[in-house]
């Protein structure tokens, strides 16, 4: 603990001194925060099985793989390695449940299960937050305040829809599609699971889903909640395993629809594999969002938004504001403010309640990001990272910004999926739109200005699924989310999201 310095007497007022070094703020350790670990028990088992037909079953292969805590590289648990036989069993269970129970059940009955799942998840929120943080490396304050509450919110929201489905498409009748196959990424394991499952089952579909190889833990933990909620066997089936198992799941003939969230690269492979079939598809893929700051924006709040845009979840967000487009007249001020703010971000143990930036999900991902840092430097961009010590074990990277970036630099074109911000300047509104749209992606964008009419103009001209105005990374179950161009198609959330899980008659 630092010692309390005695109160200094106020110095005599002095005339302003010119010509001294530029004033600086000191963010030192005069008042350091002590460790504040979240202590809730994640209630982990040493080994987790597949969840098929309402039961936990061993994989046909008899093989298991380790789930690693990226914050300290320790093994958390063994996860079942699902393969072709397991995928087959899961689809059979799902089809049976859909045809005999779930598809026929009145919506208001289905709603009860969804409400129950949402409430049970709320009851066990701290346990799930800790488990998610251990599995993924994201800070506990994010899992506690965002991932878990938002996952519950998606179940609540879609529970509310389940008995009102006739209003999803007024004048038309809606019916479930059947069995849907879903593959989700590692950046928001529990939340993506809820995004995918809740609308599907609210509509009367049954689900076979594969969580990401790196982050399967909370998915199988949620299966415990499905059991506790009495969800009929087979409505949701969870297969853990490698990427190849995800491929089998997507290609399975029983799936009436497949939904994928992940990289554009894998999305293209999946789309090729189902080309020529009747399968419906929803793809939520990569992004390289522009966060556009005009000179009349409230700059301190814009800086907060920039940080929330790219350093939330260590930048491992498909809609991350990874390109900062800042008007030339305020660029220096914004960068200076940004650097000062970054110096107060706390990087470290994700389980510490005061940690702002946690660990990168895996060694591979860390290496990929570091590769991009090298590319940025080699191509002549100027890299800056705040000073500070990182834990010796675990996959950590300080928040990184690049200045002097142009549209042609690779770090401005390719999705890095890490805490790396490329700062580009512009002069006019037209130039901002042009640069923002000059990307194969189109998932999200942000606009910071005091001028309302400019927000409206930008929101129509930016080719992005979401345009945030004077905020960033805001989500709500009622708000549809999805992309333009190579960021995918189909929407998740809201009435539009439900439309993607039904057939209209």
């Amino acid at each position: 603990m630092p010692t309390l310095t005695s109160a200094k007497k106020s110095p005599r007022p002095a005339a302003r001194v010119h010509g001294r070094p530029a004033p600086e703020l000191i963010f030192g350790d005069l008042w350091a925060y002590d460790p504040a670990p979240e202590t809730a028990d994640p209630k982990l088992k040493p080994r987790y099985e597949l969840f098929i037909g309402g039961k936990f079953v061993a994989p046909a292969s008899g093989k298991y793989f380790d789930s690693i805590n990226p914050a300290n590289e320790q093994k958390i648990a063994e996860m079942a390695l699902g393969g072709a036989a397991d995928v087959e069993a899961a689809y059979r269970a799902a089809q049976k449940a859909q045809e005999t129970v779930w598809g026929k059940m009145p919506g208001k009955e289905r709603a009860k299960y969804l409400f129950r799942i949402a409430r049970l998840l709320q009851d066990r929120a701290r346990e799930f937050a800790v488990a998610e943080t251990m599995d993924n490396g994201k800070p506990i304050k994010e899992t506690r305040d965002f991932d878990v509450p938002m996952a519950a919110a998606h179940f609540f929201y879609h529970a509310g829809w389940a008995d009102k489905l006739e209003y999803v498409a007024p004048g038309r009748k809606v019916a479930p599609l059947g069995v849907v196959g879903q593959v989700i990424p590692w950046n928001f394991p529990l939340l993506m699971l809820s995004w995918k499952i809740a609308p599907a089952i609210a509509m009367g579909n049954c689900v076979v889903i594969k969580p990401a190889t790196n982050t399967p833990l909370t998915a199988v933990k949620l299966a415990e909640i499905f059991q506790d909620a009495g969800l009929p066997p087979g409505v949701v089936n969870i297969i853990t395993g490698p990427g190849s198992t995800g491929g089998l799941l997507m290609a399975h003939p029983t799936a009436a629809k497949i939904a994928f969230t992940g990289s554009t690269e894998v999305g293209k492979v999946i789309m090729r594999s189902v080309a020529g079939t009747e399968k419906r598809m929803t793809m939520e893929l990569g992004g390289k969002a522009a966060n556009i700051v005009f000179d009349d924006a409230p700059l301190d709040q814009a800086v907060e938004g920039i940080i929330n845009g790219i350093f939330f979840n260590q930048g491992q967000v498909c809609c991350a504001g990874s390109r900062l487009l800042v008007q030339e007249s305020v660029a220096d001020r914004v960068v200076a403010k940004l650097k000062n703010r970054l110096r107060t971000l706390r990087v470290g143990d994700p389980l510490d309640k005061n940690t702002d930036v946690g660990a990168i999900v895996s060694r591979d991902q860390l290496a990929t990001i570091q590769g991009y840092l090298d590319i940025g430097v080699k191509e002549g961009c100027k890299m800056w990272q705040p000073a500070g010590r990182l834990p010796t074990k675990g996959f950590y990277l300080p928040p990184t910004i690049f200045t002097g970036v142009t549209q042609s630099h690779r770090i401005a074109r390719e999705e890095i999926f890490g805490p790396v911000l490329a700062i580009i300047t512009f002069r006019t509104v037209e130039e901002a739109v042009e640069k923002a749209n000059n990307t194969p992606y189109g998932l999200s964008a942000g606009v910071w200005t005091d001028k309302g009419s400019r927000i409206l103009k930008m929101s129509t001209e930016l080719k992005a699924g979401v345009v945030w105005a004077n905020t960033f990374n805001k989500f709500d179950p009622a708000s549809p989310f999805g992309g333009y161009k190579e960021s995918g198609f189909g929407r998740e959330g809201g009435r539009q999201g439900l439309l993607d899980y039904c057939q209209l008659a």
Binding site: M1, P2, L4, T5, S6, A7, K8, K9, S10, P11, R12, P13, A14, R16, V17, R20, A22, P23, E24, L25, I26, F27, G28, L30, W31, A32, Y33, D34, P35, A36, K141, D145, D296, P298, L299, D300, Q301, A302, E304, G305, A336, N340, T344, K353, N354, D450, N470, T471
Partner: protein, 312 residues
């Protein structure tokens, strides 16, 4: 608002920038999720104690009340590792009593609210005479109110001239300029008034949120607006201005949240009572209660630490 007043505001906002209400309130909400444990909590509690301007500003104040307040200021707790508070804050008529009670050689400073506190609605010469009188009676610090009427009418020069006149009347005493944020209404206006005041002030003079006499006083939001104004002004000019939130901070928990805002906005150099103060009365006993809790691991019975500031 007249056309000229509007133009004056427009010019000032263009110069210093504006504040987004939703954004800044989101920012300060994050301070409340910081978790202080053990040593860092105790350090924060003691630091906050050393920053208290122990205040009594009532019509019924007497010499006796001020004397007991001074005693509490000098010796907040039996535990001698607890620092003295920064200052006592009294009406001008009570300054001489405070000086007699504290003596000349004391770590506790005497602050006095002058300039027709809280409204400021007296002729300038009356306000200046009040300031000079308080300084002559021994006030180390003067808490003045700005002319809110002039500010809202866009007469910025008048606002600044009055601050400059009071500053001169202060002589060597520290000046604290009360913006009375609840009467300025918007965050933009609070930022603007902060800049107007800072452009006149000396290093380590204060800007202060409020008188404590209106419905809305210090909040994390207006504290943050003023801290960011101080930061921007400091980085531009090199002049460090100090900050005092006042009114409405009653619990140790609140005080720690305000200090976290200071730590993460202005940094270490503002974490002392030369640069940051709390205008408060009942806060002190809650700080002491929490310090005692950290020391013993248990909360004391309520009669050990009165919640009524009356009973210091």
């Amino acid at each position: 608002m007249t056309g000229t007043a509007q133009a004056a505001f427009r010019r000032l906002f263009n110069e210093i920038g504006t504040v987004d209400q939703v954004g800044i309130e989101e920012r300060v909400a994050k301070y409340t999720t910081r978790s202080l444990k053990k040593g860092s909590k105790l350090f924060g509690l003691k630091l906050a104690t050393s920053m208290v301007d122990l205040t009594t500003l009532e019509g019924k104040d007497t010499r006796g009340k001020v004397e007991s307040l001074c005693q509490k200021a000098l010796c907040p707790h039996d535990d001698r590792t607890v620092p003295t508070v920064a200052a006592v804050c009294v009406y001008p008529s009570m300054v001489k009593h405070a000086r007699r009670a504290l003596g000349e050689d004391t770590p506790v400073r005497i602050a006095s609210v002058a300039t027709a506190f809280p409204s400021g609605q007296a002729p300038l010469r009356t306000r200046l005479a009040e300031v000079k009188g308080a300084v002559a009676d021994g006030a180390d610090e003067i808490d003045m109110v700005i002319n809110r009427g002039a500010f809202l009418a866009g007469e910025f020069q008048l606002v600044q001239d009055e601050i400059a006149a009071v500053l001169q009347a202060c002589g060597g005493s520290t000046l604290k300029v009360i913006l009375e944020v609840s009467e300025l209404e918007t965050y933009d206006n609070i930022r603007a008034a902060s800049f107007l005041a800072m452009r006149v002030l000396r290093p380590n003079d204060f800007i202060k949120t409020s008188t404590g006499k209106t419905s809305l006083n210090a909040t994390l939001g207006n504290n943050q607006v003023m801290l960011e104004a101080i930061r921007d002004f400091y980085l531009d000019t090199g002049t460090p201005v100090a900050m005092k939130p006042a009114g409405g901070i009653r619990t140790a928990k609140q005080a720690l949240q305000f200090l976290i805002a200071v730590k993460e906005t202005l940094g270490d150099e503002w974490l002392n009572n030369t640069r940051y103060r709390f205008g408060a009365s009942s806060l002190l006993n809650d700080l002491l209660r929490q310090i005692e809790k950290e020391r013993t691991g248990a909360y004391q019975a309520p009669y050990y630490f009165s919640e009524a500031a009356e009973s210091y």
